[in-house]
């Protein structure tokens, strides 16, 4: 009979080893899945783990997808570390994209480059506003933030849908539900020729540094996290839980909105009903797999980006549905949670003799 024995202190070794073990198990299940579907598992692993890194161009595309994931995850880390369960980043991303898209549509041929700053700011504020609905309802009405933030994802999708089918539909777009393509002026500046990597990546990496300083080097960052770990201690120290709630939701909403803005004014270039690509949900996995640590999340964002690109390649090269990405994402989070048990507990083989513990 196996028994879990609580460790006196969380194991630092397993804190780092658990994501790797979880990835190994996910890959193993993936191999079994490929074989079961009659596909060559070596090819299967290749499209997920080799193709995305084999050329400078592929690496660039990997970064293009990792950027929004990382930015959203950075915000979510603040949330989860302060025990605020915002799982509606997808909705905040969409609203950020819609608001940013609205600003981008205002641009015409003579607009200056400053419009990019306005777009990015608008997206961030849009995401913040959407998240602040969650904050108000939690703060004033005690409403569960998990359910509210999730419901708002559906509402955000409807808002986007209304805009692209209604007032913002491109009159010259053959009745397709999409806005006109934004002016070239609105494009987020790219870093180099021949790759779609944009300034967004720099913003994301600056965010990594900023979050690290905030979490581990400032008093505000410390106060923010104490409430999550030990609410009673936080109250005793006089740290306001309301302030922590608001900061967590504004930070994560703003980050998701920023990611939405960078996405529409970057790779997408217009609003369509396909703006929601699940980044907001995938970023939750990025945050957990990256241990809610700024640097850890860089790695997990790249990994999750590999899952996205691998899924697309699996569709075009192996004839498997693109939604394979979602299967692996879910599996990874599942196995990670299971492996995390090793962090807090030691597994012991308990003698079955003597008093048998029921249940």
């Amino acid at each position: 009979m196996l028994k879990l024995e609580p460790r006196p202190e969380a194991s630092r070794f397993w804190s780092l080893a658990s994501p790797l073990l979880a990835l190994a198990i996910t890959v193993l299940i993936g191999v079994v899945l490929f074989v079961a579907l009659g596909k060559d598992p070596v090819k299967g692993l290749q499209v997920f783990f080799w193709e995305p890194i084999k050329s400078p161009y592929a690496l660039g595309e990997l970064m293009v997808k990792a950027t929004p994931l990382l930015i959203i995850a950075l915000g979510l880390a603040v949330c989860f570390r302060s025990n605020v369960w915002n799982i509606g980043a997808e909705g905040q991303f969409v609203v950020g994209a819609v608001v940013a898209g609205g600003v981008a549509l205002l641009a015409d041929k003579d607009t200056g480059r400053w419009i990019v700053i306005a777009i990015v700011l608008a997206g961030t504020l849009g995401g913040m506003a959407w998240a602040s609905i969650v904050a108000i309802l939690r703060d004033r009405f005690n409403a569960n933030e998990i359910l509210v933030s999730l419901m708002l994802v559906y509402v955000a999708d409807m808002v986007l849908s209304y805009m692209v089918y209604g007032p913002w539909k491109d009159p010259a777009g053959y009745n397709f539900p999409q806005t006109k393509t934004f002016e070239a002026m609105t494009q987020i500046p790219r870093l180099m020729q021949g790759s779609r990597v944009s300034l967004g990546l720099v913003i994301a990496l600056a965010g990594v540094a900023g979050l690290w300083v905030f979490l581990f080097r400032t008093r505000a960052g410390f106060a923010q996290q104490v409430g999550g770990l030990a609410p009673a201690a936080a109250r005793y120290a006089g740290f306001s839980s309301r302030k922590a709630l608001w900061l967590a939701l504004l930070a994560s909403g703003g980050a998701a909105g920023l990611a939405g803005a960078l996405e529409v004014a970057g790779p997408l270039g217009q609003l369509t009903p396909y703006v929601p690509a699940g980044y907001g949900f995938a970023a939750i996995i990025v945050a957990f797999v990256g241990r809610l640590h700024p640097v850890g999340m860089v790695f997990s964002a790249v990994l999750m980006s590999m899952f996205y690109i691998g899924g697309e390649l699996a569709q075009s090269r192996l004839g498997l549905a693109k939604s394979l990405t979602g299967v692996f994402q879910g599996l990874l989070l599942f196995t990670l949670l299971a492996c995390d048990t090793l962090m807090a507990y030691r597994i012991r083989i308990a003698p079955t003799s003597g008093l048998k513990g029921a249940g």
Binding site: V148, M151, I284, V327, L331
Partner: protein, 306 residues
Amino acid sequence: MESYSLLFAATLNAGTVLAIAALGLLINEKAGIVNLGAEGMMLCAALAGFAAVVHTGNDWLGFAAGIGAGALLAAIFGLLVIWLNTNQYASGLALSLFGGGFSAFAGTAYVQEKLHERPRFSIPVLGDIPLVGPALFRQHPMVYLAIALVAWLIWFLYRSRSGLVLRSVGESPESAHALGYPVRRIRLAAVLAGGALCGLAGAYIAIIYTPLWVQGMVAGKGWIALALTTFATWRPVRVLLGAYLFGGVTMLQFHFQGIGVDVPSQFLNMLPYVATIVVLALISRNPAWIRVNMPASLGKPFYPGS
């Protein structure tokens, strides 16, 4: 009048989906476990049920497949949270993400499939009463089963010994454990029951409610069902009434479209989600009211001997 009679019938039908799922989650939560994976279980069950009907042509086998799929996923969740002590919120979320991804992937072959003509049900004599008949007595048997389930659940939770044990596990697992009850096995049983009922609800969606398979077709009903247990302050009758209320809100959008109300369809589609948020805020406004009714150890892990 005729159209209101049909609107009422459609409301009961839509409410039934929510009621079955929410009653399952209620059993779950009475034992102290929150399963945020409802949406994922319902999606996989919807696909399993739909596929079973496509291959066998038998609705009841489809429901059985849905129940099986829901219970299977719930078992994985249960093992994680009950035996490995993983965080319930995160594990449920993982289940929802996995269920959404898996059903989308496994369901690609079924997107084009259609089910044969659905049989119409009608209770003899009662179904022929004008207005009342179409509103109440021409429903799928599952609609009446959901009502029967409420009656059984009230008896089980508040009149039977097993129900008392189940509730005690949700209120104070330590005491239940000290009395010698197998807390973890009882919790697993409750989680399985929750998964099975969510599965049944999911299968009902894909077989009867909207007989087809599309990726993500549960469209948040799992999450609304989760909110319903809170709205109902964990009481079975209120769960049923709440489910009908939300079924009505869902149907109202089609009614509005039918009578030509000039509001963009997207705003009407928002109604169920916005209503969920509003009601959740109103009910939760009084923390004491929630605290009194909520199973005391809801969401808290229990590991004997730790």
